[in-house]
């Protein structure tokens, strides 16, 4: 039902109809838009995905090949080093540098200062090391969509890649959730994990204009792709 609305609106605006009709019409449109419908379609048009995913021979050294119980070949086990520098998800046109994030005085994670830059929580595990590496980025700025604007489009099976130590580490999305910030699932997001995992966090839900913040967080969960 949201599909046909846009063109219909434009078609009928041209004849410049009487003011009252316009008012009613405009109000109806505002109402529809305000309800969040069509958010997905009005979001940034898909950017051309950057060059096809170059999968290195072993995207993840610490990956866990299924089926090797204990006696896995030690080949390609050299752990990635250094800080992560970029995150990309070709399917949603995401390709952004990573800053290092810290905590404020109250212990809350401070989001990136730049709306076009995502951040990695430097106090936790790094992407590719065992544990949940947490990346956060803005949903929008005051002007429009920001770096993680399309995070909510990610679905189980999608691939997220993080650049670290001169190579891309691949993660497979396993799930996503939207949660009120005051009931943030800290244990599920930051709790220990057996292997390298990734969490991508942005905002979602309603915008609280009085506080100047969104009420919800959107969290995407991903696990390291086993080495190919």
């Amino acid at each position: 039902m949201s599909g046909g609305r846009g063109p219909a609106v434009r078609r009928h605006r041209r004849p410049r109809p009487p003011a009252t009709a316009l008012v009613a019409f405009g109000a109806a449109i505002c109402l529809a838009a305000g309800s969040g419908v069509g958010l997905a379609t009005t979001a940034r048009p898909p950017v051309d995905p950057p060059a096809a995913t170059a999968s290195a021979p072993s995207p993840l050294a610490a990956g866990r090949p299924p089926g090797c119980a204990g006696e896995c070949p030690p080949a390609a086990r050299s752990a990635p080093r250094g800080q992560p520098t970029r995150v990309r998800v070709p399917r949603i046109g995401l390709d952004a540098p990573l800053a290092v994030l810290g905590l404020d005085r109250s212990g809350a994670l401070v989001p990136p200062a730049d709306f076009d830059v995502a951040g990695w929580y430097g106090g936790g595990p790094a992407p590719g090391d065992p544990g949940p590496a947490v990346l956060a980025g803005h949903l929008d700025s005051r002007q429009g969509p920001a770096v993680f604007a399309r995070l909510g489009e990610l679905r189980a099976g999608d691939t997220v890649e993080v650049r670290r130590g001169g190579r891309w580490l691949a993660f497979r999305v396993t799930g996503a959730l939207r949660t009120p910030k005051d009931r943030f699932p800290t244990a599920a997001v930051y709790g220990p994990t057996p292997g390298p995992e990734l969490r991508l966090v942005t905002c979602g839900g309603d915008f609280d204009r009085r506080r100047g913040h969104y009420r919800d967080n959107v969290v995407v969960f991903a696990v390291a792709e086993p080495a190919a």
Partner: protein, 297 residues
């Protein structure tokens, strides 16, 4: 000219009414909290955090049982995952698996997949939870047990350790850190202890079988991690230990969520008052429109 003017207006009135209806329905949905505009597929928050995966690993803890092939199959799935030649003392890595029920079957190493399995069990995987499917006991009374592993974060950036007792030679065992906490006392063969909190760092362990000679071992624990200490019969007699890191987390966990948006793409719907106001205006406009349309006919 008159016709040309009225035709679009009537169309417009129709379209306006339609939009109005849609808008009102949507506003109602918004006010009752049923709309999920950003992420329609997201499960309701009340359903608990769904990370999409649970974890399963396999363990062979029966000293006199030969190697086995272990088959792990999702219910209804055609192709099981096979862990070939799992021998005594093996504790596999965890496999992240979608939540659901899985059948575990054990066959003698090298036996055809079509042979009836020696042992079978089932594990119900819940998202975010972890399980060890272990072959335990002596060969004569071998059983498969599903251990529910607690990978939750240890308090205060410490480490968490438990003992998995798989030694027949030391049927009852005490495990303690030298100059430190006791990890377990009187652990029976084929059992697993609860996790104990331990300060991170290097510890000298002392394993004392009831009446036997003590075995020493050194372990290194890092903060925020969860460990299993496997106690096994050594090939040359005595005991041997293997420290396995079950899971790793950070030591300083941020509190609460993240403020990651400035509202530039937010609709007016965030304020129910505005939504109601808009609905009122729209309704009024629609009525005026209808009246005018009737009078001009």
């Amino acid at each position: 000219m008159h016709l040309l003017r009225t035709a679009p207006r009537r169309l417009l009135a129709g379209a306006g009414a339609l939009l109005l209806g849609t808008g009102l329905v949507l506003a109602a949905g918004l006010l009752t909290g049923t709309a999920t505009p950003v992420h329609a597929a997201a499960p309701a928050a009340a359903a608990g955090p769904d990370t999409g995966v649970g974890y399963v690993r396999l363990a062979h803890l029966s000293p006199d049982t030969p190697s086995v092939d272990v088959y792990l199959a999702a219910r209804g799935a055609a192709e099981p995952r096979v862990f070939p030649g799992v021998g005594y003392g093996v504790l596999s890595d965890y496999l992240p698996l979608p939540a659901g029920r899985y059948a575990v079957a054990m066959r003698e190493a090298g036996a055809p997949a079509g042979d009836p399995p020696v042992l079978t069990t089932e594990v119900a995987v819940v998202s975010g939870e972890a399980y060890t499917v272990a072959g335990v006991g002596r060969y004569a009374d071998l059983g498969l047990r599903v251990l529910h592993d607690d990978l939750s974060a240890p308090d205060g950036g410490r480490a968490k350790v438990r003992v998995v007792q798989a030694s027949v030679r030391a049927p009852v065992l005490d495990v303690a850190c030298a100059d430190g906490p006791t990890l377990a006392t009187g652990v029976q063969f084929a059992t697993t202890t609860d996790y104990r909190l331990v300060e991170p760092g290097t510890w000298r362990l002392r394993l004392s079988p009831g009446g036997g000679r003590a075995t020493e071992a050194e372990i290194r624990l890092s903060g925020g991690a969860v460990y299993s200490l496997l106690v096994l019969d050594a090939e040359d007699g005595g005991l041997t230990t293997e420290l396995r890191r079950d899971a790793q987390g950070g030591t300083v966990v941020p509190s609460g969520g993240v403020d990651a948006g400035a509202g530039g793409t937010a609709g007016g719907g965030a304020r129910p008052g505005i939504a109601v106001g808009l609905a009122g205006i729209a309704l009024l406009g629609g009525l005026v429109l209808l009246r005018r349309a009737r009078t001009t006919w």
